[in-house]
């Protein structure tokens, strides 16, 4: 009898040994801490570098007249582009997801594809055809056409998931269609739209290439110039601090507008799809509008590339160099996408399932890199590796790490929306059916969030493959990616030589963008499947 009692006790003690830590998942904590540390690394070195010549120097640099001009330039551009992207993104998403638009699946793909064209290639496309294009309006137009998919994607996903019952209830309470959209539908997709707008704002603050091409001075352009041409690290880092501040303000703005209010859906009841709105006479108008948008965002840059490939005498290029550049780009991007997605999962899982001040701080930190131009992250990594890890300096790994840090926010956005699809209630049921947390994760959580993980991977891959600024600084000596080789030719006005590189960049990032678009429309049809 007493032997039995002892045997009964043993598993209890063992249970206590591993679960006594309030169920903190160690793997997630390790992953999230690694992500936070990586993100903070460049920022810390940014501050260290800026501080090196003392605060009076920092003050002198910041109080120059040119800083006010840069501030005005950045703010007015950011406001105009973000509002335009929100309108275009939500409008297009509503037309595709909620109306009886002809050829919806085609539009779902076409509207996402501009994401596969780097901003500086869009700039190149327009300016190489119309050299007179420069300044504020050119910058607003080019950036809006480049960035609106960042709102379109989350908005269309959110729209396809809104429960039709909510809208029907609103209609029965006496609201008209427009009022229903404004007060019910828009509220449901609001966090997604704000998340997209945040990405647009932060992307604008970090952009370098496109503004250089249209000769529009923003903070990032000025920083690049100070660093690359003036070799003034202190000035570059000081100006970067202002940029970081602007971006932090954007993050705070999103928070104030309620961007994080929605979390996992309550319960797991099955949702109904909304009926599509017949467009009737408006069909032609909507088709024309979407057609015009696609023509400007997709047609002009692609057409321009085709023109320069055909007429630019690109046959003089040694084909081996373009293949090598392609291989480098693809390998770096895939590695970075895998790392960023893997880091985003624990960050998001902790923030959503073990919500407290620390985990929320880590999640907020994961968004920080969007507030740092690629240039600054590169700068921070270079300073770090030169001092503490010289073997890392100018290695492929350093560039991959830079990409992973830089695009971690994209991965977090993707994983976060995916995580909302898997209710904690489902995981609990899985465990009560006798499976360990790891097994439940593999059989329940992972299948439910897999589409979101794929989306996160694709987003990071696309962005890395078309990254220019950090790559210009960090690429290993003698190695060229598609972006850097393209940039070298473009700055020499060798448009014909540059075009094939841009074409390849568009091609490799178009495939994930296409897959992404296809998956979105599949999702919309399958309803609650994901």
């Amino acid at each position: 009898m007493s032997m039995f009692a002892a045997a009964e006790q043993a598993p209890g003690r063992w249970t206590r040994a591993w679960s006594g830590r309030r169920r903190w998942p160690l793997v997630s904590i390790a992953g999230a801490s690694a992500a936070a540390a990586l993100v903070l690394l460049p920022l810390v070195f940014l501050v260290v570098q800026a501080q090196q010549s003392g605060w009076s120097e920092v003050q002198r640099l910041l109080l120059r007249h040119s800083v006010a001009v840069l501030l005005w330039n950045s703010v007015r551009l950011t406001l105009a582009c973000t509002v335009l992207c929100a309108i275009l993104g939500v409008g297009a998403a509503w037309c595709v997801e909620r109306t009886a638009l002809p050829a919806r699946r085609l539009w779902a793909v076409a509207l996402v594809l501009p994401l596969g064209i780097p901003d500086f290639v869009v700039g190149f496309g327009w300016v190489s055809l119309e050299p007179g294009l420069h300044g504020y309006l050119a910058a607003v137009m080019i950036m809006t056409l480049s960035l609106y998919p960042l709102v379109y994607l989350p908005a269309s996903t959110a729209l396809s998931k809104v429960d039709a019952g909510l809208e029907e209830t609103a209609r029965s309470l006496g609201l008209g269609p427009w009022e229903t959209f404004r007060r019910v539908t828009l509220r449901q997709i609001w966090p997604a739209v704000l998340g997209g707008c945040l990405l647009v704002t932060l992307g604008l603050l970090a952009e370098y290439g496109a503004f250089e091409i249209v000769q529009y001075q923003t903070f990032t352009v000025a920083i690049f110039t100070e660093f690359k041409l003036g070799f003034d690290t202190v000035a570059a880092c000081t100006l970067s601090l202002v940029l970081v501040l602007l971006s932090v303000m954007a993050l705070a703005g999103e928070l104030a507008l309620g961007g994080r209010s929605a979390s996992a859906r309550v319960g797991a009841g099955v949702r109904r799809n909304a009926a599509r709105v017949p467009l009737g006479r408006w069909t032609a108008v909507v088709l024309f509008a979407l057609g015009a948008l696609s023509a400007l965002a997709l047609g002009v840059p692609v057409g321009s590339l085709v023109y320069w490939v055909l007429h630019g005498g690109s046959s003089t290029l040694p084909s081996t160099s373009i293949l090598a550049a392609l291989a480098h780009t693809a390998a770096y991007s895939a590695a970075a996408a895998a790392i960023a997605t893997a880091l985003a999962v624990p960050v998001t899982a902790l923030a959503m399932r073990h919500r407290n001040r620390l985990t929320l701080l880590i999640e907020r930190l994961a968004y920080l890199p969007m507030a740092l131009p690629g240039l600054v992250i590169a700068l921070g990594l270079v300073s770090f590796s030169v001092r503490y890890a010289f073997s890392l300096y100018q290695s492929s790994l350093e560039l991959i790490i830079a990409y992973a840090i830089l695009f971690l926010p994209l991965a977090v956005v993707g994983v976060r929306s995916a995580m909302g699809q898997s209710s904690p209630r489902l995981e609990e049921v899985g465990r009560s059916l006798g499976h360990r947390p790891a097994v439940v994760w593999m059989r329940v959580t992972l299948p439910l969030i897999a589409p979101g993980l794929a989306a996160a991977f694709a987003l990071v891959f696309i962005s890395s493959a078309t990254e220019l600024t950090a790559t210009l600084l960090l690429r290993p000596t003698g190695v060229n990616t598609l972006a850097t080789q393209f940039w070298t030719y473009t700055t020499d006005f060798s448009y014909g030589a540059a075009a094939p590189y841009a074409g390849l960049m568009v091609a490799i990032s178009a495939i994930p963008a296409y897959v992404l678009g296809r998956r979105m429309s599949t999702l919309a049809r399958a309803g609650a499947q994901a």
Binding site: R16, G269, V270, V429, G430, P437, Q529
Partner: protein, 355 residues
């Protein structure tokens, strides 16, 4: 022998104590209903038993195994306790049969065991459907089959019928009841519906202010509630002043026997509870008119009549206010009386004294 036992359980969230020293004994093989208002902590109790939450203090044990005593904690997957949440929480990416087979070993997931379970809950033809193609009742049955698949030692049902519409609810309720009877599995069902609890369970435990205030067979609870609040929670009541003498109560409705051991109550006067169906209502004829309180009962007038078909509830204002303001009497549907009818009310004992 008690199979599932909860002793002195404390649990709270963010400074608010939800469960405050709760005790619950669930006999082996029984169906025990935990009855309480929304937000009283019923779901929290189930979640602690299932192992999704930890006890702050107290003990949860199943067939002598300690599951949680505040220090030792057994993971939910090792407890062998099935859980059916409110909306079923089917895995949306798995078909009906894969949901049901989730807990089983890989080789059995599409085997006879799953087919048998689907057959048992009556959804065999839906085996390959996805959850979003099922109705609410069907989802509930899949969730039940899924929870039963690994042959759990106990089963927890969290308001399993509340999302179903009324006609479906009673049918699914009956089927589930029969099913659980057949399986002989120890079951805890939480509900806010007293009719559901009384009609379905072997034992009903009433949860209030973080404690079980009374637990017993449905009839015991209904007839001898521990206090007035509980009496009203379980159904309509009349509270009538009474003088107690040698095991009976002298009331305006006559001398009535006092129920159970509480007849030996050490008080001279107090209130007794009389359920509406214990009152007998007779239309007063001309000759007895004006007699007021007589041996035949208490005179009064129908003030309101709620007709339910199978029965009717009369609100009767006594002629001489004092013992009680308004009497509620449940009568046959056929006996629904028009407002203003003069009646005589008599009571059929026994009555229960209340604090």
């Amino acid at each position: 022998m008690s199979l599932l036992s909860v002793k002195g359980l404390w649990k709270g969230y963010a400074g608010q104590q939800v469960l405050q020293g709760l005790d619950l004994e669930v006999p082996a093989g029984s169906l025990t209903a935990v009855l309480g208002l929304s937000g009283c902590g019923k779901t929290t109790l189930l979640r602690v038993i299932a192992g999704f939450e930890r006890a702050e203090r107290g003990t949860v044990s199943l067939a002598g195994r300690t599951l949680d005593d505040g220090a030792t904690f057994m993971a939910p997957e090792r407890r062998r306790i099935g859980y059916v949440p409110q909306e079923g929480a089917l895995f949306p990416h798995l078909s009906v049969q894969d949901n049901v087979g989730f807990a089983l070993a890989r080789s059995e997931r599409r085997g006879k065991q799953v087919a048998r379970l689907l057959e048992m809950v009556g959804i065999a033809p839906l085996a390959t459907r996805m959850p979003n193609e099922l109705s609410g009742g069907e989802q509930q049955r899949v969730a039940l089959a899924r929870a039963l698949a690994p042959r759990p030692d106990a089963l927890l049902l969290d308001e399993p019928f509340s999302s179903l519409d009324a006609s479906l609810r009673s049918r699914v309720r009956e089927e589930v009841h029969g099913l659980l009877r057949g399986q002989g599995v120890t079951t805890v069902l939480v509900t806010h519906d007293q009719e559901e609890a009384l009609s379905l369970a072997d034992t009903v435990a009433v949860l209030r202010d973080g404690k079980i205030v009374q637990q017993g067979a449905p009839a015991d609870l209904y007839e001898q509630p521990s206090d007035e609040r509980l009496a009203r929670f379980l159904g309509a009541v009349n509270l009538v002043a009474a003088d107690f003498e040698d095991g009976s109560a002298r009331t305006a409705l006559g001398r009535l026997p006092v129920r159970g051991e509480r007849g030996a109550i050490g008080r001279a006067a107090g209130l007794v509870m009389i359920r509406p169906e214990q009152l007998e209502v007779r239309v007063r004829s001309e000759d007895t008119h004006g007699a007021g309180t007589s041996a035949a009962g208490l005179g009064g007038r129908v003030e309101q009549c709620r007709y339910y078909g199978h029965d009717a509830l009369l609100h009767i204002r006594p002629e001489h206010p004092g013992p009680t303001d308004l009497l509620l009497a449940r009568v046959h549907g056929a006996q629904a009386l028009p407002v203003g009818t003069e009646v005589t009310v008599a009571a059929r004992g026994p009555v229960t004294p209340l604090e």
